[in-house]
Amino acid sequence: MTKRDYSLLGEDARRAVQTGLAAAEWYHTDIPRKEMKALMAREDGPAIRDTLILFSAMIAFAAGGIVLWPTWWSAPFWLAYGVLYGSAMDSRWHECGHGTAFRTGWMNNLVYQIASFCMIRNPVAWRWSHARHHTDTIIVGRDPEIVAMRPPALFRICLNFIGILDAWNGWARMFLNASGRLDPEEATFIPKSEHPKVVRIARIWVLIYAATMGLAIWTGSILPLMLIGLPRLYGAWHHVLTGVLQHAGLADNVIDHRLNSRTVYMNPVSRFIYWNMNYHVEHHMFPMVPYHRLPALHERIKDDLPRPNRSIWEAYAEVLPILKRQLAYEDYFLKRDLPPTAKPYKEDFHAAALGAAG
């Protein structure tokens, strides 16, 4: 059994570069240029509509929570507000980070900055981390965004349903960056020219949190923190629930997103919160396609992909037994069958990684 070293500075990282697994050429379904251009085309309309709905709902739920504070009647309002703050902002961070949500650049940037703050992810640092996640998706030692490592740290994942570790790490990193320093791992993927920006944003955030804390102390109430900061904890569950499914239980160290990413059909509310990232194989294969065209992209290429999971629950029924088995045997994973219409996996290239397929 192979022991995986997920450090970006470790042995697996070195080996991935040496073997050409890092920054490799990945598999893509063939789509003629004309069709691809139509799928990639940008527009502002859908994201403006969704952003107005999102922010209006946040204001309405927050207002309900404030009016009914401190009674228990405010709880449902906070739960709804929290999910929009601690989960919907994850997908906004993601999509606007790619720059695909809106056609207009400043709109992407504005929503990206707000969402990064809500998720406590430095917008500069995480842009680079996510670029690496796309270059080296689930390549051990290269991808800084692997949620379910092997063996899976189930306790950590569970804690993140209430955001504990992510938020803690986010705040700790914010203070580190605000002090003018970068973590040695993040320094491996953020160019030096960007370091001052990382520090500047962290300092602005420290000021915002200080003002919120100050207000809470001054008013003798945690209400300001219910609006800013704490929803990253009590509203995180949905983005973890959906995010775990993106890659967990599938292959690592392969260069075909059909082997390491999962598409799951979801209900419309989850899809709004998650901004269609349930079409995850499609997103990784073609990150230029905006979220609102992923259903169309899915229709176009589904014959070349493994069958999607039919629901969140069906996906968990698939994932949980795999994670459980990986606790004892970390090389175990699910290699999903392709439909007869699909181009086969490149077995020769993946032979080493797929040797232990379940």
């Binding site: 920054a23 691809m36 251009k37 990639m40 085309a41 940008r42 790619h98 720059g99 695909t100 056609r103 650049g105 500069v124 842009r127 680079w128 670029a131 796309h134 270059t135 160019p191 020219s193 960007e194 073609f286 990150p287 230029m288």
Partner: protein, 104 residues
């Protein structure tokens, strides 16, 4: 000074689009702008050496297909992270329905 090289016919590129052009062991990207001007840059993104011709042209910007970095293809200026290094550009002229580029 190098010679003008015939890259393609003017109609081989759609308006607001890009094609790949290989010459002398190197790869280039040739663009047609929304107002029918033609431009030429290096073909590989300065971030991770991905072919820009598979990206998306929007107005005067080429967006890289890998991480959505952007360049102004008229000047080569890097406009959006994760690209930080500018792209080399090359002179272009149109003659007799052909796009000629001065590369190499």
């Amino acid at each position: 000074m190098s010679n003008w090289i015939d890259a393609c016919g003017t109609e081989e590129i759609e308006q607001e689009d890009v094609i790949r052009f290989d010459h002398g062991g190197r790869t280039y990207a040739v663009y047609r702008s929304p107002d029918d001007e033609y431009f030429c840059t290096d073909g590989l993104c300065t971030h991770e050496q991905v072919h820009l011709a598979e990206g998306l042209v929007m107005d005067y910007v080429i967006e890289c297909p890998k991480h959505n970095g952007q360049f102004d293809y008229r000047t080569g200026e890097a406009k959006r992270a994760p690209v930080c290094v500018n792209l080399a550009t090359y002179p272009v002229k149109v003659e007799g329905g052909r796009v000629l580029v001065q590369v190499g």
